[in-house]
Symmetry: C2
């Protein structure tokens, strides 16, 4: 019974509507390219886990293999272990948020939290607000539930709350389709920008006035290389749904994130989570708990911060030195990313293959907009993973590729074939 | 800014349609009760991880902490590590299935696979066929995508393929709404029954004739306590989508499962998985790989089989001894579960609180039917977790509770108030 041809046809016919428009993530697809040693990758958002002390990993893992293995190897509760929740409450306290374990749910990375929130709250056509550009994994998670995602631009002070207000006026008060606003207020992905306190306050006022939930995604909050701590939205309002993850302060390979939210919100998400994954990995939750209780993790975090600060500085210096006058970029105070905007006639998607040939990768900007609706002349470049020397070399290579493009266009402009900006 | 009352109202208004009908899993809710030491639990499907040798856990974990930690702690590819996929190919070969890593996707437990398959293929109203009763986690996973789930009864030889054929005739050939059939052919959950080879063959013929995918869920296949190996559906047709998990042969706390499917099917699921979880835990995948390559896992599996066989025998003996003539039950050749059917006037849902007071729990039968549409007079009892002595005691307690109920009803019947069956 061999019916390979039949299967192929079946699959095309049988997929759900929600899948028809899905696109593969360019970042995911670039993982393979990034493993070529001659190519310097500015595309992935991978933390440098080589900075983790070997002894800390062994210490963190010990309990899961020994005293607590009966729990670590078994099924757990859908919302996670209370001991690990308590650790996350302690982490939240450090950044100005009071939370109890009953307000915490543990998820398989923050990505699962994004999926669960969308699955719990979104009907097709519902409105989601987000920075534009925004995290492409969030766009992928939300899009599966077919919402109407509306993008609010940012500037150096974070989301343009004045433009948000204009969008809300169009949506109207009490609109049942308006479900939530998704924001990465600290060192935004891909923007690198941070929302200033006054805008955070105004955003929360608008959420009350227009009746939408605020989902605050904060993977990079502890990776600040300059300026002072800004209070999370969650510290300003109990209603906020806050997403945390150990991926950038410990290790993404453990896929452990958490949600802090009102109990009524968590109860609904829990119902959805039961069918989605039954429960997360108790083993990983035990390892994470002991990483934050039995190892000098703050010292390790300082090492992360110091290393990433040096890399950010190297990238910004190289951009200042090599990038053409036509390019603009953000100057992040933390996180992993710089957002570059080129003249509107440059298509960073088609330029990527040339960049690859020249030994450098980046992430084209259109992936950070729903349906690739904008950002074609933009790119995200990451400074988290490569050495300062490699970053300088990569920016230099990238600048050469961009300059080649610009020269081509300058020639067209000089010839009157296209219009200068 | 305190608006707790407002949040509560918001949540009620804002949840998605798909969540409105969701019910919490009775099994999940019973986890708390099961931790009371005076209560013997027949409700959970928890493997006895205390049977795992301590040394095997340490050995399996070593590589993830040492040589391979750079990979184990980092993000991985969405479909999983190729080395771990190869291990699963080796496990498949043992049971008669040839598979290559390119036909394998690693998931966060088989539960994630169920969610991903439903998410990839189901539009609201699409038809899914399944044994009735069936695994309640599958019902929860599928229900989020609002399909029309149709139940096919089983008998001692597995799914009644003759009744499947009648259902298919009603659905009609080439019906675009018909997406897949979900089956647990070995030691079914909750039925304990195994589908005989002739029915497996006929099922696959029908899948070709009517154009539906077959999803074969096989968590218990290696836990056989009597009879001979039956070839998986996947060994009979390349088109089958096979789900495996390490939860019952190693440890559920590692949340590692896998899908074996045609590449065209996996490509679609991969697209959906990117937004759902980005990637699974590389750490756990490394641990699982080394469990199956560096430890005497077959010997450990034999220990599992021997232990569970003794427990099954103890439960069946106690049922024979204590259960009333009005009750019938299945006699599983493997797996974790016995399915008990009581007279139609017994409601196992309302009886559960009495059983709890008498120091025993089970899982009421209606949770294993979509929307609780049947099975109210049935229950699933698990023999996997308790000692033979505890199982005998638990069955005795349960028999007393049931006999009390039956006596009450016998009195009503004698008085002519209700009709005898």
């Amino acid at each position: 019974m061999t019916t390979a041809h039949l299967t192929f046809d079946q699959t095309g016919d049988k997929i759900a509507e929600r899948v028809v428009k899905m696109r593969s993530s360019a970042v995911r697809d670039l993982f393979a390219a990034a493993s070529n040693p001659n190519i310097i990758s500015l595309s992935g958002g991978m933390p440098d886990v080589s900075l983790l002390p070997h002894s800390a990993i062994r210490t963190a893992t010990r309990a899961a293999c020994d005293d607590e293995r009966a729990v670590a190897l078994q099924y757990g509760s859908t919302d996670g272990r209370v001991e690990t929740k308590q650790v996350f409450c302690d982490l939240m306290r450090d950044i100005g948020v009071r939370a109890k374990p009953e307000n915490v749910m543990i998820t398989t990375g923050a990505q699962e939290a994004l999926d669960l929130i969308a699955k719990t709250f979104l009907n097709p056509g519902d409105i989601v607000l987000a920075e534009g550009p925004t995290y492409l994994g969030a766009l992928q998670a939300f899009s599966a539930y077919e919402p109407d995602i509306r993008c609010i631009p940012f500037d150096d002070e974070g989301m343009r709350v004045d433009l948000l207000e204009e969008e809300l006026a169009r949506i109207g008060k009490g609109n049942p389709r308006l479900k939530f606003l998704y924001t990465i207020p600290n060192f935004q992905n891909p923007g690198g920008v941070t929302m200033v306190p006054a805008r955070r306050k105004r955003l929360l006022e608008l959420s009350e006035e227009y009746g939408f939930m605020v989902v605050e995604d904060d993977p990079y909050g502890r990776l600040r290389y300059g300026g002072g701590h800004v209070l999370p939205l969650k510290a300003l309002s109990d209603d906020v749904v806050y997403l945390g993850t150990v991926s950038k302060v410990f290790a993404p390979g453990l896929r452990t994130g958490w949600i802090v939210a009102p109990k009524s919100v968590l109860a609904k998400i829990n119902l959805v989570k039961q069918g989605t994954d039954l429960c997360g990995s108790a083993f990983n939750q035990v390892v994470v708990e002991h990483y934050f209780t039995d190892t000098p993790w703050q010292k390790t975090l300082q090492k992360f911060v110091k290393t990433y600060r040096t890399r950010r500085d190297a990238m910004l210096a190289a951009l200042d030195e090599h990038f053409p006058a036509e390019a603009t970029w953000t100057r992040p105070e933390g996180g992993f990313f710089v957002w570059v905007t080129l003249p509107s006639y440059v298509d960073t998607g088609s330029m990527l293959s040339v960049a690859l040939e020249n030994g450098v990768t980046y992430t084209p900007g259109d992936g950070f907009y729903p349906g690739g609706s904008a950002g074609k002349n933009c790119m995200r470049i990451a400074f988290c993973y490569e050495s300062p020397e490699n970053l300088a070399e990569a920016v230099k290579r990238l600048a050469a590729v961009i300059n080649d493009r610009l020269e081509l266009y300058r020639a067209f402009i000089d010839a009157g074939a296209i219009k200068a900006e």
